[in-house]
């Protein structure tokens, strides 16, 4: 009986660790995605500000 409880606790600990690992991996992925979006937006804004409104003035 004690052995069964001990095995179950061990399994639960492994599950909890795996869950934490996956959660952290997911959060890292989200952080990388957000950083990339911010990076692209920064360069877009920078280009518009540096080149001025003339950037959008062109013949269609």
């Amino acid at each position: 009986m004690t052995e069964q409880v001990s095995a179950m606790t061990k399994e639960q600990t492994v599950d909890a660790k795996e869950e934490t690992r996956l959660k952290r991996q997911r959060m890292r992925s989200i952080a990388i995605a957000l950083s990339l979006v911010a990076f692209v937006m920064t360069f877009f804004i920078l280009t518009v500000v540096r080149m001025g409104p003339d950037l959008f003035v062109r013949p269609l």
Binding site: K17, R24, R28, A31, I45, L46, R50
Partner: protein
């Protein structure tokens, strides 16, 4: 970037085995957020004091770049110092010594952020400011961390230059040139660094001894350190009045800088001739006061300048 990072203590809750991977918070800790906050603050002051208007978007991007550069320095510092960080109570819970982040990951992260921050600042403002930022990162990571820190008791005197550059970078980012004003801002932070760090080294002497870092109290003794603290505090008090002498600090700033300079000198003198226990307590007070000192005199200089500009230009 040579400011003290005390954030590591707050990271200490819950040692996490490395097989669970690093959290986003671990990567943020790698950037030394508290050091970064002071870097950002001095850079903002440097940029706003400059007599040149900057587009708000350029201003924000420049400050982000300088912050990222500061963070890169922190990551490179943690990469190289992982062995000694593990030995000191203040730093042993950092992500690298605990194994939450691999050393190579910290190195890669630091190098990547260095390249991004310098490139971004160069494109957003000018390449003189970007070069200064690149030099600052190099100075902190190579000259201070790799070369001086473990070799000489004057490590933080020379290394302090790295922490003094952000104010100058802010000014140069706005104006594109180096003039006397940013040099004075640099000098204030440069002279502020030794008393700030030696006050810490006095009450954390055991930590530095355990890590075999030749901080002044461990090498030259406490008395010699206190004398050095006093000398630098006097020099700092005098340097902080230079903005008044050079015409970019007014009477309000003069009063604030004068009063706080006297405070630094008073707290330094109080370290002389006391028992070890009282000296440790007072060095902690000096350390806390020095943080307040830098913040308040920079803020006073900034607010006075902005108020004056608003009165003149409406």
């Amino acid at each position: 970037m040579a400011y003290l990072d005390t954030s590591a203590n707050t990271q200490s809750q819950g040692f996490v085995p490395e097989d669970m991977g690093a959290s986003v918070g671990d990567f943020i800790a790698l950037l030394k957020p508290r050091v970064m906050s002071l870097v950002v603050f001095t850079a903002i002051v440097g940029m706003l004091l400059a007599p040149v208007g900057v587009h708000p978007a350029i201003f924000i991007i420049a400050i982000i770049s300088i912050a990222l550069g500061g963070g890169a320095s922190g990551a490179l510092n943690m990469w190289y110092d992982a062995d000694i960080d593990a030995l000191m109570s203040r730093t042993k819970h950092r992500p690298v010594p605990t194994g939450r982040i691999d050393k190579n990951q910290a190195l890669g992260f630091g190098v990547f952020l260095s390249v991004v921050s310098v490139t971004l600042l160069g494109l957003a403002t000018n390449w003189l400011a970007a070069s200064l930022l690149a030099f600052t990162i190099f100075f902190y990571a190579v000259i201070y961390t790799i070369w001086l820190k473990r070799r000489t008791a004057q490590n933080i005197v020379i290394g302090g230059a790295a922490g003094a550059f952000p104010a100058m970078i802010g000014w140069v980012a706005a104006t594109g040139t180096i003039s006397i004003e940013p040099v004075i801002l640099f000098l204030i932070v440069f002279l502020w660094t030794p008393p700030h760090f030696w006050a810490l080294a006095l009450y954390k002497k055991g930590d530095y001894a355990a890590a075999n870092i030749p901080m002044l109290p461990n090498v030259a003794g406490e008395r010699a350190t206190i004398i050095q603290i006093l000398v630098y505090s006097v020099l700092l008090a005098l340097a902080s009045l230079a903005p008044v002498a050079f015409g970019f600090g007014g009477m309000i700033y003069a009063l604030v800088a004068g009063a706080l300079g006297l405070g630094m000198i008073f707290l330094s003198v109080r370290l002389i001739g006391t028992s070890k226990k009282i000296m440790r307590l007072r060095s902690r007070q000096l350390f806390s006061f020095s943080l307040l000192y830098l913040f308040v005199i920079f803020l006073a200089l900034l607010l006075e300048t902005l108020a004056l500009r608003s009165a003149i230009f409406g």
